[in-house]
Structures are given as C-alpha cells and as structure tokens.
Symmetry: C2
Subunit: 416 residues, 2 copies
Amino acid sequence: MSNGSDLMHRPLEGLVVIDLTRALAGPYATMLLAGLGAQVIKVEEPKGGDLARENSPYVGRDGIQVVRRHDDDISISHLTRARGKYGVSLDLKTPEGRAVYFDLVAKADIVVENFTAGTADRLGVGYQACKAVNPRVVFASLSGFGATDHDGKAMDVIIQALSGAMYTSGEPGHPPVRIGVPMADMLAPVFTVIGILAAIEQRHKTGTGQHVDVSMLGALTSFVAIENWSAMAAAGMPARTGLTVQRLSPFGVFECADGYVAVVAVHEPLARGLFAAMGQPELGEDPRFCSRDVRVANATELEATINEWSRKLPLVEVVRALEAQNVPVAPVRHPEDALVDPRVVARQETMAVKHPLYRSSIDLRTAGIPIQFSGATTGFDDALPVAIGEHNEAIFRDLLGYDEDRIAALKAAGAI
Amino acid sequence: MSNGSDLMHRPLEGLVVIDLTRALAGPYATMLLAGLGAQVIKVEEPKGGDLARENSPYVGRDGIQVVRRHDDDISISHLTRARGKYGVSLDLKTPEGRAVYFDLVAKADIVVENFTAGTADRLGVGYQACKAVNPRVVFASLSGFGATDHDGKAMDVIIQALSGAMYTSGEPGHPPVRIGVPMADMLAPVFTVIGILAAIEQRHKTGTGQHVDVSMLGALTSFVAIENWSAMAAAGMPARTGLTVQRLSPFGVFECADGYVAVVAVHEPLARGLFAAMGQPELGEDPRFCSRDVRVANATELEATINEWSRKLPLVEVVRALEAQNVPVAPVRHPEDALVDPRVVARQETMAVKHPLYRSSIDLRTAGIPIQFSGATTGFDDALPVAIGEHNEAIFRDLLGYDEDRIAALKAAGAI
C-alpha cells in the first residue's frame, strides 16, 4: 500500500494532545491518538504518577514478576498504555505547575482528562480555563456517568452491571456474567476519540474548539441498546439465550471432546452442510429438521443432536469437517492463541511491547490500532515515560522554549 | 451548553456519505456518521434491499409482531439502523446503476461498504474505481478478517470465538460465554468511524482521500489484547476468573435474595465500609480480612462471607447499605431497565425510534450517540428509507441534477 510517496505519514500527525488521564479508560483513548500519529504529552503528578504504574504484573531484569523487585521494573499496564507518549511531571495543585500546564494548552489541539467528574474544574484546569488560553482547544472529559454528574467513581464492573451487558450474557436461569474484557473501560475511550475527531473536523469550519464529554455508562448502554429489548420482550423473545440463539437454530457454541466451537448454519444450504459434516445427511429430510421453521421449533433437540456428534470428536476434527462443507465454524480460542493469529499480527491489530532495557523471554503482545490506511501508517513513537517526568527537558525546553533557569526553578518549587 | 450562537450544528455537517452497507456492522458505522451530522445516502438493491429489513420483530399497525403481517410493518432493526439516512435504489450490477453510483461518489466525501471482502472490487465499485472519479473520497471497508482476506463471511459469534473474548468470560472450568451484546458486530464500526475521521483529517493536509480497512476480528482482538495474557500466564494469573477477581478481592458480583450486585471494595476504607454495611465491622480486625494482602489470600472465604450476608437480603437493601458507606455498588440490571436510566435518557445515549405512521404502545428505545458536545448537537434527520428507493427523487434530482426523463429511463432499465 502506498500513497505514491516513499514516506508514509500517520493520519493525525501535527496534532498535539495534553494527556491528563490515568488508569485505563483515559490512557487507552490517548494511546489510540498516539498510534494515529498525534504527539501525546502525558502529564503526571511529580509524586506518584499514574496508578497504572503499580499494576501487576511487571517486567524487568528478572522477567515477568507479580511483585515489583527493582526500581526499573515496569508495570506491563504502563508499558502498554503509555507507549509512544512523552511524559512530563506537573503538580497541578501549585500555581507554577498550572502556569506550565497553560503554556502546554496554548500549544495544544486537544486535552484529555478522566478525573472524577468535576475535579478538573476544581483544580482550575478544566475546559473553561483552557478555552480562555486557547479557544481552538478540543477538551475531552471521560467519566463514569458524564461530566456534570457527581455519582463518583465508576469502575468497569459497576458499569457492566448497570448497562445490562452483564445480564444479557450467560444461560437463562443462571447468574449474570462478568465479561472478561473490560468493555466499559475500553468502549468509552473509543467514543471519546470519535468525539475528539468530530470536534477537530468542526473546528476546520468554525475555528474554535469545544468540550467533548463521554460517559462509560452511556457508551456501554448505547451498545446494549442496539437490540430492542422492550420490543423483544413484547414479542416474547428472551433477553438471555446463553451459548445458542434458538430462534436462529442451529446457531451458537457447541461442545467438542477438548473444547468448544462456534457454528452458524442458519440457512438451508448451511444446515445441509452441517448434517453432511456430521455424517448424517438424512437429518436434512428428518421432519424435525428439514426446514428452517422446524429447526427453530425443534431447536433444543437439534442442539442436543449436534452436541452428541461434536462432543465425541477433537475440536480440530469438528472444524475440519464443517469447513469442508463451507459451514461457518470457529474454535473458541484462548486469548493467548487469539493474539498471535497471523492475520491480526500481520495487520498489527496486536503488537509486541518491550521493556526499554531488558529482553523478555515471552512475547508481550498487546493492543494495536485496528485500522489499516492505504495512504498512511499507524504506530507508536519510540517514546515511553519510564520515569515520571521522563521527557521534561525535551518538552519544556523544545516545545515551550523554557531555559535552564526556569526549569531549575520549577524543580526547586516542586512544581515538576 | 451553547457555542454562543442560537443555532447549534452537528459536527460532521457538510460531509456526504455513500452507504453501501447491510446487516449490522456497516449500518451501525453509517448510523454514527448520520447522528454526528453527515448526510448519509443508503444504497440498496432495487429488489430485496438490506437484509435487516427482514429481521424480526416488526412494528406496525398491529403493534410489535414476530412475523410481518402488513406491507407497512417495519423491522425494528431497520427502523433503528436506517434512522436519519436517505435511501436510494441502485442495481450496481448494471452499467446504468454503476453510472449513477459514480455520480454519487463524485459528490461524496466518504463511501462505506461491508460486502464480503473482494466483492466491491469485483462489482467494479471499490476504492480504485471511486478514486478515479473522486480522488478526495475516503473509502471505508468493513469485513470479517480484512479487505484482502478471503476467508469469507464472518458472523459475530464466530469472531467472538476467535478473538478470545468468549473464553475469558465465565467461571473457571465452565463452558465459554457468548456475550449477549453483538460486540464484534458493534466494535468494528466504531473503529471504522475513527479511521474515516482520521482520514478526513489527513485529507485537510494532503487534499486526497484513501482506503480505510477495518476487520471485525482485528477490532475485537485488539480489545482482548489490552490485557497481557501471556504475561499473566507467566505470572500464574488465570485468564478466566468468573464473577469475581480474587487478586483484587473483594471485587465482583455477589448474590442477593432477588438478584445480583456488583461491589468494589479493593482499598482499605472501602473494605471497612463493606464490613460496616454488613453489620460486621469486627471483620476489619479479623486476621483473615484485616489487610489487603490477607483479603486476597483468603478471597474465597471472604466472598463466601459476603454472599452469606447479601443473599439473605433484597437487592435494594444491599445497595442502600453499601451506598451509605460510600462503597461502589450497582445492581446487575436487566437491559430494559438500563436503557431507561434517567442519566442515559437525558444524554440521549439511548433514544426512542418510532414507526413513521403508527404509534407504539411501548417505548422502542435504541442506541443514541454517546457523545456530548458543548458546541454542537447530535441527532438524526427526520428521514427513513421506509421503501427501497424512498428518496430516489430527492437525491437523483436535487443532489445529482437528473431530470425526469433520466430518472424514468433508469426505472425502465431496472437500474433503480
């Protein structure tokens, strides 16, 4: 893929992001912006910094460890989420620190924060204060329930519970299911990036920035809402269907001797293909299974018949038999296997991260930017705020034009 | 919220989208663009149209129905996903149809398609053909495994299985869990919108468009990859932990007499608050539970102790007792309850849809745009392609400048 020049650029090159975020949701948003080419400047408190620095496991000179042993052990969470970001230290509670912050904001296109709602304003670093310095700035707030709501901190499991996502997963009559991937933490940032880019587009027309405000509860609930639950209830359709969806039968997950497979054989040729793969083509003539309507009516029996076949066979054989009949089938994979799928590796949808000093004996594979551009690349600058304030000199001197004396004075004041 | 003028605009106003998408993933992407203010022109085959038109349940003169009874019954899927879109009919397999398509592309900023990979090019309507007509166009392809992969159709359940998302959810030793929300179908479009907006931003600098290519497998696997599974395995941390996460104990979902609650009491003051809410403050001095480390070491016992308390009480009482102690807690809600949370309703993160002719006795609540802008609104034009080709006249005459004769000839040729 080429845009005709030898040098491919990343699509957001030239945009500067001031990143006040901590933990997962906010840092994932700015990680996406960094991977798309924006220059992200991560601001941390001089003492403590991002809590994700304390997330176990760590990687360092002794490899992977549950407990930090050495000063230069790095949390893999931090290694992942702070990739490609430039790190500065700033105590926003000091006037000196805020003065530096506003110098950064004056140079910025975008500010992102995920403090508890209301905190940025209380610290004096919120949108109104930034707008006064730089009316072109797009200021994004990511919170549990919205920027004007004060219900306090929201964690992924709380939002999963409130959104209905947890209820809809799992078997009827069984407990709800906590989704293993932190969906609430991850989804709000994706919508935050959409909001930021839409506001940047609007800025091309208006010349001014604005406040973008995304809530974790809203983002995940909007996803849940794509199914019309009230209409489904009115139509007598269940809200939880477990491993299979009987109104589309056969559709869902089936058992093998050594694992599980997802199978979709909704339409006639697929159902016939499934029966052939099972070595029981006569099921296609069976009055219980010979048309889509009767398959749905006899779904429980059909699923039992399929499981009776599949559970005796190794997963690879079930997959092979169904593939030979062009029936959509896939193994239920362990995440470690999923992450090294050659297709996602080739597209850098998953990527390796590494400690800047030490090699790891295992591949530390993490999230990439799951978008391919024909006229641009994606990827991360070779930057990582290993220490808090790692790039103070570079940013304060080169971007803000501070001299040595000013930087020394800020240090002496404890502002950086 | 106001930008200082009386009239609020949507951020993407002025952008024109040609929408070739069908089913869920593609239409959700263009629905987001429509809600952000782009003019979306949905192109459907004159015969058949989008398969989502045939999704049960339907709404119409008889209310909600599982089976279509009247010509003007509308699938709620279609009502939801085609909101705010202008519908034209075009047979892209005819030269006349393709000629109209390229006239549309010449006026467009964005084209979105989610045909099986390779199909758009085979039909002669892919990126290279569009670029020849309009080098500024951003052409987005949404597919199962990537635009150059020919592994065929991908369905949500297949991608959930392959991505590892299904494996990580659920209890250790139990079967995997199909996530009730179609995460793979929904996530790829969100990244597609990010890719489109990033390419539009790049176009401001380069003057040219490009091909944006997002895969369902890549989007969902990148989410799964935010956890470092190989490092967790190396550190002896399990990949599936079910309703609770014992290394953060107490953290997770607990049982009440009439439902389930999510509770997070990881830190010392929260754990003390939980024990106070339980009426057993002495647990805070119990050698098994008196510090974070011992709570994690005795997580199974701690969880049993909490469940013993909570399962005897109604959910509302458990929530009230924990809230009184400022311990993060939330009921596991049914989606119907989640969708009408006043917070998400106020922010239009969920929205009502309605049949253009008939009132429904129940609130048909569906996904909104979960982003608030201080200087813009979001929302949908009052447009819906009820019939295939609903807006042929308006688009072909007003946007393309075709006269009556040309439109009549296209009809006669079966091209529209």
